[in-house]
Symmetry: C2
Subunit: 798 residues, 2 copies
């Protein structure tokens, strides 16, 4: 029953009102926030990322053509250096930009900031997977043109991106010159002094070779320090009204391939230029520049032969399949309905199912955080993709596994056991320049293990689990067993590290980390017992496994008996309180206005930490503990990180504060569409977008997955009339529909005989393809008054 359609089967894509929720649109009035627009309209397939720049390249917020893993390394300098401080940092660089198409109208360049802009819009079509652009422009000399373009980055063919560009001159004949460029070393402005923004390396690419062939050609460059080679090919199809009157020429230099089309367009005529690009990169070692040029040229020609319409059709087909699982219906607020689809779209296009690549914190949508991969990936993005596109999770975890050698080296350098994965990286080595909030964030190792275990529980992939998965679990377990210690009373402690909350550092027994460590140790022990032969090849000894279990069983969980709350870390609740009354609204984010000296030693929380622990480990806290903990930390959490709102939403929903949960949901899902943190221009906050899905599914759907079984304890806010989402569970699509009438669980696509077991409010349910199972929604616990957030920090009421 493989129908094309969305999870919301009852309404077709024709519905105009609903259509708006499948599109994101910006017009001429948005041209003052170009960088933000470029991030929102970024197209990616997990290999290539094209920011949503204007075809003509100018004006521009920040150009960006990214290839997953392509980077250069730059020196880090410290006022006071220290042992094992990273001396080089990976920095994302732009590959040659093939998206550029410049138009000259009777000699004047099309520029939306000159002449008269009659109409201008860009639209991201979430089902078609394209960005469309329409501009009606009158040049300073008075020539009117319509320009339309359609851009795509092919989800089905990873090296391919393409753009179709048409021009019409409705009023009078006009001489046009269209320059289609492939431009290397495009100038990237340094946008800000904010430490969270990117560093820009000027002219990072060194030309190696270039070639011309047919309607285009190829450029091959290399990087100096990271020793990578990048090849980009382009080819064109030009449809001119009368071919003989139009001239085409190709101009080629080290850093630019330009195809120019010149002629005169009559009213009623249309010039269409279609450009196909192919991108590859690889390590210098073992590749050849000429071969890579040949390779991308062939890929371009294949795509050009099939044509743009075929790419469009493939794109929509791929998304139709993806949306069947991924769509989320939130009836009740069209803006949030649009926003959750936007969020899921960007998650889907960030990963790749077929190449071992991971997903940086900004995906391939911008150069924020220098293009680094952080724990956002395993902590937020993979927990979503596990249920929407598990092959992407396997790719990302295989990428981690491929970098085990660097992680083992790092552990040895730090004089630790096992493997220590980097806090931030592109190429696999630690790139954090501030170790208390970098290397000390050791939980990233347990986050990776957690992602392995979740993927293992939700899929059937024995090869991965007995291979890379096992090795990741074993090496991280070895790290923790050596890093932690047993106290005199026999309890196991992990000290001197930094948890998720970055307004605390170098703490002891961060509860989130300790619970993650316990899961890591037990998960590794279980995996070793399941795959004894493979474990033997990794040198795992039985006493080693026994040691992991002993440590896991003894993990200390700090609790303040007097206050009746868990401690984010040992002693947290005894620290001085933050003086919120004297903190002004414009003192936020606090890290820009207070020293770490003050932030670290006081009870002020940047982002959910203990609350995140309750989301991840729901079975380790009673309902009463959750309510007390939530209220306590809510009063001290300032949400200066976009990672926070989703965890707060999930726990607010669980303890029964559904209005608050809904407001947090709005904040996390609108993070980028409304540019709430004023940082969207640097790239999208994928973890926040992932958090939006987690809020829907874990917060409102009440889904939990910490016991190896899917369970649901729904909490439907009044503002949502109907909520529909799906999860992939061992290759089946479980669809969940929540209304005030109840919860409906079904397997709409499954073969007869399929059966999966879930839990609804503790009750065991068997779901089969024979029909949906429905249950009433549980009574929401009366949570009492809403917990107080610090002044000015409650999310906006929606």
């Amino acid at each position: 029953m493989h129908t094309t359609g969305t999870a919301d089967g009852r309404e077709g894509p024709q519905s105009t009102a609903k259509d708006a929720t499948w599109r994101v649109r910006r017009t001429g009035s948005d041209l003052d926030r170009l960088a933000e627009t470029e991030s929102i309209f970024a197209l990616s397939n997990g290999w290539i990322g094209w920011r949503g720049t204007l075809d003509e390249g100018q004006p521009c917020g920040m150009p960006g053509t990214y290839l997953s893993g392509l980077h250069e390394r730059r020196e880090l300098t410290y006022p006071e250096d220290g042992y094992a401080f990273p001396q080089l940092s990976d920095t994302v660089i732009s590959a040659p930009n093939a998206a550029l198409i410049r138009l000259f109208v009777a000699g004047e360049p099309l520029d939306v900031t000159t002449g008269t802009l009659r109409e201008h819009e860009q639209t991201l079509d979430l089902r078609a997977g394209v960005v469309e652009r329409h501009t009606e422009w009158v040049s300073p000399a008075g020539h009117r043109v319509h320009v339309r373009s359609t851009r795509l980055v092919s989800l089905s063919r990873h090296p391919i991106a393409a753009v179709r560009y048409t021009v019409e001159a409705p009023d009078a004949p006009v001489e046009l010159r269209v320059c289609s460029d492939l431009q290397a070393n495009e100038r990237v402005p340094n946008r800000s002094d904010d430490p969270r923004a990117a560093s820009v390396i000027p002219d990072p690419l060194t030309a190696e070779t270039h070639r011309r062939h047919g309607t285009g050609g190829a450029l091959v460059h290399r990087t100096e320090r990271s020793e990578q080679r990048v090849a980009v090919g382009v080819g064109h199809t030009v449809e001119t009204p009368e071919a003989d009157d139009w001239a085409t020429e190709t101009d080629l230099t080290d850093d630019r391939l330009r195809v120019t089309v010149v002629g005169t367009l009559e009213p009623g005529q249309r010039l269409t230029l279609t450009k196909f690009a192919a991108y590859e990169w690889a390590a210098l070692d073992g590749t050849d520049a000429e071969e890579m040029a040949e390779h991308v040229s062939r890929a371009v020609e294949e795509a050009r032969t099939e044509g743009f319409d075929a790419l469009l059709a493939d794109q929509r087909a791929a998304l139709d399949v993806a949306w069947r699982t991924a769509d989320v219906v939130v009836d009740g607020d069209e803006k949030l309905q649009q926003a959750i689809r936007f969020a899921v779209f960007h998650l889907l296009q960030a990963g790749r199912p077929d190449v071992d690549r991971t997903i940086p914190a900004k995906g391939l949508t911008g150069n924020g955080y220098d293009g680094h991969v952080l724990w956002d990936t395993e902590g937020y993005v993979l927990p979503v993709l596990t249920y929407l596109a598990p092959a992407m999770v396997r790719s990302a975890l295989r990428w981690r596994h491929a970098h085990l050698p660097e992680a083992r080296e790092r552990a040895a350098e730090l004089r630790l056991s096992g493997a220590t994965f980097p806090w931030r990286t592109i190429g696999g080595r630690e790139c954090s320049g501030y170790w208390p909030a970098g290397t000390a964030g050791m939980h990233v190792n347990a986050d990776i293990a957690d992602a392995v275990l979740r993927y293992a529980a939700a899929t059937d992939d024995p090869d991965f689990l007995a291979g890379p998965g096992l090795e990741l679990l074993v090496e991280t377990a070895r790290l923790w067993h050596g890093f932690g210690h047993f106290a005199d009373d026999g309890t196991f402690h992990v000290t001197g590290i930094t948890g998720p909350d970055e307004y605390a550092a170098l703490v002891d027994d961060n509860l989130f980390t300790n619970l993650m460590v316990r899961r890591n140790l037990r998960g590794a022990a279980d995996a070793v017992e399941r795959h004894p032969e493979q474990a033997g090849r990794l040198g795992v000894r039985p006493d080693e496994v026994a040691g992991w279990r002993a440590a896991a069983d003894a993990v200390h969980l700090p609790y303040d008996r007097k206050r009746g709350v868990h401690q984010q870390a040992a002693g947290f609740t005894e620290q001085p309180e933050w003086d919120f009354e004297s903190t002004d609204e414009d003192d936020y984010p606090l890290l820009l206005n207070f020293p770490y000296l003050e932030l670290y030693r006081k009870q002020v929380v940047k982002q959910a930490d203990l609350v995140l622990a309750m989301q991840r480990f729901p079975g380790d806290f009673t309902a009463e503990e959750k309510a007390r903990n939530f209220a306590y930390y809510e009063a001290r959490t300032v949400r200066d990180s976009s990672l926070s709102a989703s965890a707060q939403a999930v726990l607010a929903a669980e303890v029964g504060h559904l209005d608050l949960a809904y407001d947090y949901f709005a904040e996390t899902v609108l993070q980028d569409l409304a540019d709430l943190g004023d940082k969207t221009g640097d790239g999208l906050h994928l973890a926040s977008l992932a958090g939006a899905w987690l809020t829907v599914v874990q917060g409102f759907g009440g889904m939990r997955d910490d016991q190896g079984v899917l369970s649901f304890d729904p909490r439907l806010p009044e503002r949502i009339g109907r909520l529909v989402f799906s999860l992939r569970w061992h290759s089946h699509r479980l669809q969940v529909t929540l209304t005030s009438d109840g919860a409906r669980y079904e397997l709409p696509d499954a073969e007869p005989g399929t059966e999966i077991e879930i839990r609804h409010c503790g009750e065991r349910l068997r779901i089969t393809p024979t029909g949906p199972v429905t249950r009433p929604l549980p009574a929401v616990p009366d949570p009492g008054p809403e917990p107080t957030a610090p002044p000015t920090r409650r999310p906006t009421r929606r």
Copy 2:
């Protein structure tokens, strides 16, 4: 009874054997460690510092001509910047070098690395306060010359330094050219990658004006960022055999003034060039380059008129006075006898009694630590100078007071109360580029208050105490009262800071800091009550003072009941132990081989911290606690800091491990003379030299001053036959002599009627000029077996 002589009155300076203990000598065989030699032979008067370079400037370890406070500022860049991270750092720069005298022998430059070096020696005469040099050299062409020089930096006239330079040619007539230079922007090599070494700013001085007059002239330069102006004048006296045959010329450029003397020297003749230099610097603002040139020129002419012999006589007279109090006699080991005199000499010449300048960690002997002032000054150096040269202490504390505005600004920037003094600085602003071991070292504020209180107790200086002293106490007390907090149980805590031990950071309730805070708060409260009117002008309210006392009374002192030891900081004794068995000898210093991540979270101590607390606050620990604490921390202290040995020596002596104390004494007193840390080339470790004196006086003399009264509980190691030292106490010189027969206390210089009260082993003694008071030495407690140090870390047995 102002006799010229030393504390050791019974032996005259003629004694040859003893003479060796008043001199430090290096010969040609030491030329492979030039930088170290230059530090050891550095001459200073607290205003000017001349490193002990060869007259000819080459070969050279590291040239250095320092003026107290003269510096440039350089940018600090961080891989990940943070709020209130210092963006500029002060860096010591060289003033124009007036010590250079280059000799050309028949056209060939005197260079000890060419030709034949028949004889070469440099000698520091600790009583004369000069460095003498004698070199017998045969040029590659075969001309033999004797070169002698005597250098001094005048203790009695702060702008003046001088050098007398003579040449003889014993064998045959030889043509000589002597170039006497005043050289600005001398090239300084970057010596090392070690983070503890200095940064070098190339060409830091910009020429403003220069002038020629008489036998010399003056150069005036300015710095760009620190906005300082420096003027240096030189003048010469040339004594040639037959004046007519010799030509003298002066050559002047922006950066160099060169006086050249040319002629032919016959056997039996002698050429003597005497050079006088005067140094001044001041803020650009409010000074005038021409006036400063005139000023230094006049100072040079005055000195030149009086002549070099007068400077020599003044120098010896000043030192005669100083040594009367400062000399320490350690009978039993000539090497240590010499070393303690060397140590005291460098302390005496580091400070100034008459100009408000402080003493950097390296004094004016090198550019280590960028020439910064650290807590070494108030923590180690001033506690010695309080008893040897209290006027220097007043100057240093008035310098701190002069920088109260910057300290108040820093407190405001850090969002704290009162004043926050910099961890490291030259010009008064925080220059630390690694805040967990910089700004977080908040105890520096209490160290300053402690130095004020010690100075107050030992002297009679009501103007200082009611003025700058009071303000320093009040502003630091305000800092602590706002920074600390009361826990629910009413105890007062200081959290999130770093104590003396730099292998721990961001700890809670560092015991040393907490005790220092208590002293600071009480000392401020007492001072306010003693000077109510002046306190009123500082806006001190009665409830504020009550708050200080309440906090002081409630200060928490962490103690581990189970182990029966105090905790260096909360939880310290529960941290994992360091794996000393797996730590190799060449893993030390650990900071170069282990990450802070590991060092901070384990029980490994870089330098005395809890042990330093026991030295400073002997009354807060019982004898049993001291013994247990000492043994516990001894086993975990690796002494990777030169600040450590002296505190360990003092406590080892107190608890009765006299051999161990003696070995620590040898280590601290030989730190630089034996270049134990391989860092002496960057400048002398003044705190270690101060620690040597503290070891003698507090360790062997058993002196304690924490109760406002001098008390003694002597511990004389067997290896020391006789120990003599003096202390200034309210303008009187108390001389203490220890032999196995007993302790003798006397006031050898006092007017009749003088009386001071001291304690000997708890017994109250009145000392008057009528005669010494003698008491038997106390029985040394039986301390049991010597505590075990970590493997390879016990000090060398002497």
